[in-house]
């Protein structure tokens, strides 16, 4: 005896645009690695590293914010630079840097996926593939760099460094990313 069909009881689902879980967790894990590896050789890096980690996490698990993820990554990056200044070994420093950049990348990916697809949907496969691709690229470039660094050994000519730096500057300008 009703025109009120069952439609009334079937509420629309909630669309959840928060950052997706897997990437968010991976980003925080990467940030944690970066903070931990930059910490032991320089006390000064500790507040920067863990501060960056906290800001990054707040940008993912609080109100989603790309600006805060970038800010957090910048904090982590500063802690890496400081740690480098205090004589952290190059190997540890590389891991720190990879952690920082992966945290930045994955954090942004989590926010982007949250906006477009939402965490109410299945997104794991995409996230895992994205994270592994990024990790692979980081590992490969770090390996190449480390190889050059190691074969060069100590006491290399300054002029060669300049040339490399010039190359980096021009590349950066050309790529503009």
């Amino acid at each position: 005896m009703s025109t009120q069909t069952p439609t009334q009881n079937l509420e629309a689902v909630d669309v959840d645009h928060s950052p997706t879980r897997v990437s968010s967790l991976a980003a925080v894990a990467a940030a944690l690695i970066a903070a931990l590896t930059s910490a032991p050789f320089a006390v000064l890096a500790v507040p920067l590293g863990f501060g960056g980690l906290a800001i990054l996490a707040s940008g993912l698990f609080g109100e989603p914010s790309r600006a805060r993820v970038t800010l957090g990554a910048a904090g982590l990056f500063l802690s890496v630079l400081v740690a480098g200044g205090f004589g952290t070994p190059a190997e540890v420093l590389l891991i720190s840097m990879i952690g920082t950049l992966l945290a930045w990348d994955l954090g942004q990916h989590a926010i982007g996926l949250g906006e477009q697809v939402g965490s109410h949907s299945k997104t794991q496969r995409n996230e895992i593939v994205h994270a592994s691709l990024s990790a692979m690229v980081a590992a490969i470039s770090a390996a190449i760099g480390y190889l050059v660094f190691a074969t060069a050994g100590g006491g290399r000519p300054v002029s060669a460094l300049i040339l490399l730096l010039v190359a980096v500057v021009f590349f950066a300008w050309a790529l503009r990313t």
Binding site: T7, H120, T151
Partner: protein
């Protein structure tokens, strides 16, 4: 523009070449060639200069990154049903623009003043039972209410002053808002005294705030235009420049997402810092950032032509409100790895998703496939919709949007079933039926005994009386005739309203009720027709039979005038044509009218009055879409109540159908009232 961009391109290439040469020389200098090293400058100042340049450039890029956001394809929240405004939203938005945005101070004030004035006059003249002039007198003198603030609204006063405490810690309303609110409250109070019926309060609070929050509405006074949520891909002009690349695949935009924008900043700052401070390890780590920068540059927009999407529906002819389970399977039929694939099954507005998610983010190797499942509930109509695909390259710096047409579509046809009995009025056709008339003849129910007239059938002669008295008399039975009913719909833009934004709107509710009434009447042998006043003519003359029912069903399903999607603005604008014209031309004089309208503006009431004057008996079934959350909504509710009262005074029957009640209940209630 193109010259500039090509120059830009050229300079980029030149820089890249210089970079490559410098890199090669540097590596060579480190690893092998001693003479080369000797011929290069090696002063400390030189090194420092380049370090500083790199560092500054890096910082500048950080700033650019922090400012410039990330671009990506917009994906709408297709899960939600379309939202329709609540009556009174125009007042609320006028008030909002006036007080919050401080726009159109004069026009909006005039508009609000006029609306309030009209309602107040109607209320006062009805309640005081006086003429219009007297009512205006009352208003101007401020004698219509005890509330002095409200009284001053029409007597040329000014907004009440706020104390300092109120301004700082009060509700945050401006004095003008408070003034309007006081006036509306006074009108509401005045109108409700001895009102024919109390409008039930629509339950709201939690779900309502939830929905509003989802809509991103911070203030309670703004109402969302229906076009911002949900989407209709066929009518939106957004995809006009889309390019058809393969059978059923439409490429829309390619976007540079800027996901990696700023990555070189990390590299430059690290390199610069490493040089300045003479720490090779810091210089080394810039390699990771440069690696990512190159990675971000490598990608090209992914090719989606070989994507195979298949949609399976558990039922492609559901009743309105029946859940349908959808399984979408996507397969990568090409030979490239699609590393970042986002699929959104873009269901149209009248469909809402009730379980699962119509979206998927995945990655597909060539030949592999992925599936997602969700459940939706549809409203009337035939719906077909594409799958929106957003694909990114490996690094995520280039994004391509495509629409893939999928065959599966649904036909949502309202069932014609009898549930409640519809009381019709005494205007009838020539055909026999079930409406009791006040005329004697052949029938079932005893009506009268009259003198015998020649030609009266033998079986109706009162033989007992003849035996007793010898006179011939004839028994008359009540003549039963079929009614000739036209169901008339209000399908104009203004009828697409609902008490809360996500609710079923008045047109959907009207049609749902009409499908029941249609069969109820047809089963009784009445002749039923359909009509709507809208810019699109809609007319089905009163008739009966199976073929007729099928035609009616088709109109209910997919006639544009009764569509579940509100008419777009472009259809309603332009030169004004009275939407009733085509109905009036075809309406036969003996038809009674059953009108479906939320009665949210004067036009429908005017139509009802005119039809009534033309000799049609009019019954209005009016879903009540009003709410009382905001000032405008309360005012609209009073306006509507006044309209209903006025119509009832004229002898037009109005069934006020509240949203939380069933139609059967309201009809029972109304019938009791009419029987008195």
């Amino acid at each position: 523009m193109s010259a500039a961009s090509s120059l830009d391109d050229l300079s980029r290439r030149a820089m890249a070449v210089i970079g490559i040469v410098a890199f090669a020389l540097g590596v060579a200098a480190i690893v092998v060639v001693q003479p080369l090293v000797d011929s290069l400058p090696s002063s400390f100042a030189f090194v420092g200069l380049f370090g500083a340049i790199a560092f500054v450039l890096g910082l500048w890029m950080f700033r650019a990154r922090y400012r410039g956001g990330v671009e990506s394809t917009t994906v709408l929240d297709i899960e939600y049903p379309m939202s329709t405004p609540t009556p009174g939203h125009d007042i609320d938005s006028a008030l909002y623009q006036l007080t919050e945005l401080r726009e159109g101070t004069i026009e909006y004030k005039e508009q609000i003043q006029k609306r309030l004035g009209e309602v107040a006059v109607a209320v006062v003249s009805q309640r005081e039972n006086c003429s219009r002039e007297e009512a205006i007198q009352h208003l101007e003198n401020g004698t219509w209410t005890d509330d002095s603030v409200a009284a001053s609204f029409f007597s040329g006063g000014s907004p009440p002053r706020q104390s300092f405490m109120e301004r700082k810690f009060g509700s945050g309303d401006t004095p003008y808002e408070q003034w309007v609110e006081a006036a509306v409250d006074a009108i509401v109070e005045r109108a409700d005294m001895g009102s024919a019926e109390d409008p039930t309060t629509v339950p709201q609070t939690e779900e309502d705030t939830g929905l509003r929050a989802r809509l991103g509405l911070s203030s309670s006074t703004i109402t969302d235009p229906p076009s911002t949520r949900g989407t209709n891909y066929r009518s939106s002009g957004e995809y006009d420049d889309a390019e058809r690349v393969a059978d059923g695949v439409l490429y829309a935009n390619v976007v540079e997402t800027g996901h990696w924008r700023g990555i070189t900043a990390f590299g430059l700052v690290a390199a610069g810092w490493g040089i300045i401070t003479f720490t090779p390890a810091v210089l080394l780590i810039s390699v990771v950032a440069i690696g990512f920068a190159a990675y971000a540059r490598m990608g090209t927009a992914p090719d989606l032509t070989a994507l195979e999407i298949d949609r399976h529906l558990s039922n492609d002819q559901p009743d309105p409100g029946e859940p349908v389970e959808v399984t979408v399977t996507v397969r990568n039929g090409g030979d490239a790895f699609l590393s970042d694939l986002r699929l959104i099954d873009a269901v149209p507005e009248p469909i809402r998703v009730v379980d699962g998610s119509p979206r998927l983010a995945t990655a597909l190797r060539p030949g592999s496939q992925a599936t997602f499942t969700y459940t939706f509930v549809a409203e009337r109509g035939s719906h077909e919709w594409p799958v929106q695909v957003v694909a990114r390259d490996f690094s995520g710096s280039i994004e391509r949007e495509a629409l893939v047409q999928v065959d599966a579509s649904i036909q949502c046809v309202p069932p014609l079933k009898t549930v409640s009995d519809m009381p019709v009025r005494s205007q009838t056709s020539l055909y026999s039926g079930q409406v009791d008339t006040a005329i004697g003849g052949s029938g079932l129910e005893f009506f009268a005994v009259r003198e015998y007239r020649e030609g009266d059938p033998m079986n109706r002669i009162d033989w007992k009386r003849h035996a007793r008295t010898g006179e011939l008399a004839t028994i008359d039975f009540r003549l039963e005739r079929a009614a000739n009913v036209v169901l008339l719909f209000d399908g104009r833009d203004s009828a697409y309203v609902s008490p809360t934004p996500g609710d079923q709107h008045a047109v959907d509710r009207s049609v749902a009720a009409a499908t029941e009434i249609f069969t109820a009447l047809a089963d009784r042998g009445d002749l039923v027709g359909l009509a709507a006043f809208d810019t699109v003519p809609c007319w089905l003359g009163p008739s009966a039979g199976d073929g007729h029912e099928e035609r009616a069903r088709r109109i209910f399903t997919s006639h544009p005038a009764l569509s579940t999607i509100p008419p777009t603005k472009s259809e309603t604008e332009g030169h004004y044509v009275d939407p009733m014209n085509h109905v009036r031309q075809q309406l036969s004089p003996g038809s009674q009218i059953m009108m479906f309208s939320p009665l949210c503006d004067d036009y429908t009431a005017e139509v009802a009055r005119r039809l009534d004057s033309a000799g049609h008996l009019v019954t209005i079934i009016s879903p009540n879409p009003t709410a009382d959350r905001t000032v405008g909504q309360r005012l609209a509710r009073v306006e509507r109540n006044m309209r209903v009262n006025e119509l009832r005074e004229r002898g037009i029957r109005v069934v006020n159908w509240n949203y939380d009640a069933t139609l059967g209940l309201e009809l029972d209630r109304a019938e009791k009232r009419w029987a008195v």
